[in-house]
């Protein structure tokens, strides 16, 4: 009779890493559907292709390191990375762009550090920034949302998307790309905000056309994750608050030099995706709740600074990477007060 000899505790909660990752994937579905409504089916093609590449890369690295491949692929983390990266890049970016991005993310961003849990930088964002810097053309060619340009009958369907992404349609994307709302606002030097709203097709109800709904749905997905206690509110909320704070501070009522309203910032670009899916990446953020608040606020602040005064219209990726970089340092100074210890000291 052999009894197990293991340390306590003997009981274990039913949640496991794979289920956490799966939940994250589920929660992204509403946002993805919304994006596909506005921008067409390219996003699906991208997501599938990205997942394939991610799994391939992960398997390759694991093989090289002599690890059990199955065990690691099953944790779904590579898929989460791939999906988030695929969502972040323009729906009709060529396949090789996505391939390079995902490979960079999975191999250099993640596995060179020892794989899941060890990477200091958010792999998806590493992939995104590498692409943005290396292939700015492909990475800034966002299609126009549905019903914005007059001569555009419909957004591309799956077949169109396949043709566009895999390069069988020459120069196809260029035809219907258009600057994103954040870009428009950034480049604007003359018009007041209200005029922008009237004159530019990019603007919708309270933020960018299409983008506002996508953000909304990502926020809904995020709240579901919050409800399922996949992460705590600290990082995302403090990020949104910081962003809102700076936006309100510099809004100046909507002049031509205005940086845009808090509403506009919250529902433009990748704000909500960032707040609930990227800022919350547990691996690369600060660890304590206090630390996560500082971390979130740092991201919100950097986001606003770069959006307004930097070269990049949206800056989720950069702000997240910068905050990743600061995370260990934040951790060093935000250790929670242990039971029985005095405040602020050891």
């Amino acid at each position: 009779m052999a009894f197990l000899r293991v340390t306590s505790p003997h009981a274990h909660s039913p949640t496991d890493t794979a289920s956490v990752m799966r939940l994250v994937l589920y929660a992204s579905i509403p946002g993805v559907l919304c994006l596909s409504y506005f921008f067409g089916a390219g996003i699906f093609v991208n997501i599938i292709w990205a997942c394939l590449v991610a799994l391939g890369c992960e398997a390759l690295v694991l093989r090289l390191r002599g690890r059990q491949i199955g065990l690691y692929l099953k944790d779904y983390s590579a898929i989460v990375t791939a999906v988030l990266l695929a969502i972040a890049i323009p729906p009709y970016a060529p396949w090789w762009v996505l391939t390079i991005g995902v490979a960079f993310a999975i191999i250099i961003g993640k596995n060179l550090y020892g794989g899941l849990g060890s990477n200091p930088f958010n792999p998806a964002m590493v992939g995104y920034v590498v692409l943005l810097i290396s292939f700015p053309i492909q990475m800034t060619s966002w299609g126009a949302p549905i019903n914005t340009i007059a001569d555009q009958a419909a957004v591309p369907g799956v077949l169109d998307a396949l043709r566009l992404n895999f390069g069988f349609m020459k120069e196809g994307v260029d035809a219907f790309t258009m600057a994103t709302p954040l870009d428009v606002l950034k480049q604007n030097k003359a018009l007041e905000v209200s005029e922008l709203w009237q004159q530019k097709p990019q603007f919708g109800l309270f933020a960018g056309r299409g983008w506002e709904y996508a953000n909304l749905w990502f926020a809904v997905g995020g709240c579901y994750l919050l409800y399922r206690r996949i992460f705590t509110w600290h990082a995302p909320i403090s990020m949104l608050l910081a962003l809102g704070f700076w936006a309100a501070l510099f809004y100046d009522g909507g002049s031509s030099a205005s940086g845009g309203s808090p509403m506009f910032h919250w529902f433009s670009g990748a704000t909500m995706l960032g707040a609930f899916f990227i800022v919350t990446d547990p691996v690369t953020s600060a660890v304590s709740t206090r630390g996560r608040m500082v971390y979130g606020a740092l991201i919100g602040t950097l986001l606003y600074i770069i959006r307004c005064w930097g070269n990049y219209p949206d800056a989720i990726a950069f702000s997240v990477l910068l905050a990743n970089f600061a995370a260990p340092f934040i951790d060093h100074y935000t250790q929670p007060r242990t039971y029985g210890h005095k405040k602020g000291g050891q």
Binding site: I133, S134, F135, P136, I137, Q138, T140, S141, Q187, N311
Partner: protein
């Protein structure tokens, strides 16, 4: 003890100083001429690209005139260079700045033939996005050569903009702002030349004469 340590050390260091300095100074003296020549050559190179040596026989670097105008977008007055063939001006090279690049200013020089057509445009410095806006640099693409031989009337004034704004000039894929800025700046230089042609040439000739005198 203290005195001795200070004394010995400073003497040794001084000795080193003598030897090393002589070495450098001698090198300097022997390369001085060459260096000056090289520096001038380097400055002249950009000018020569616009107005090649076959078209003129003066030293443009020494044949300058100060210009200053809103139209050029420059903050302080700067030198314009004049190319002459046997004392007769053939072209002027005017500095300008496009203030509205994607990320900050773009500094240019624009060469204009005496007939008002463009001899050439070059971007001196810019901080546009690599891969996007930086194609205005000749090193990255020869888009900038598209200005050659254009003039105020060719194309017509309302076509002096990029295609996206229903103009004549190409933009880059995914980047409209940079080419738009450059195009506008070049156009303004043409306007400037148009307005100040007399002044420029006169001035230049005057200077030329005084040069000849001196």
């Amino acid at each position: 003890m203290l005195g001795k340590a200070i004394g010995k050390n400073s003497i040794i260091l001084g000795l080193f100083a003598v030897v090393t300095t002589s070495m450098i100074a001698l090198t300097y003296l022997s390369t001085k001429e060459q260096i000056i020549a090289q520096e001038r050559a380097a400055r002249a190179r950009a000018l020569l690209e616009i107005v090649p040596i076959e078209r003129h026989n003066n030293t443009m670097l020494d044949d300058t005139v100060m210009v200053d105008s809103e139209l050029l977008g420059i903050k302080e007055s700067a030198e314009a260079f004049i190319a002459r063939q046997d004392g007769i001006p053939v072209a002027v090279i005017i500095p300008a700045t496009a203030p509205d690049g994607y990320s900050g200013e773009i500094r240019l020089i624009v060469g204009i033939n005496m007939n008002g057509s463009i001899a050439g445009v070059r971007v001196l410095t810019h901080s546009e996005t690599p891969g996007l806006g930086d194609k205005v640099d000749l090193k990255k693409s020869d888009w900038i050569l598209g200005f050659n031989n254009k003039s105020l009337t060719k194309p017509a004034t309302d076509l002096w903009s990029v295609k996206k704004d229903k103009g004549y000039f190409d933009q880059f894929t995914g980047a409209t702002i940079t080419p738009r800025a450059v195009t506008k700046a070049v156009h303004r230089v043409l306007l400037f030349f148009d307005e100040n042609q007399e002044l420029l040439i006169d001035h230049a000739s005057l200077k030329q004469e005084s040069n000849n005198d001196g």
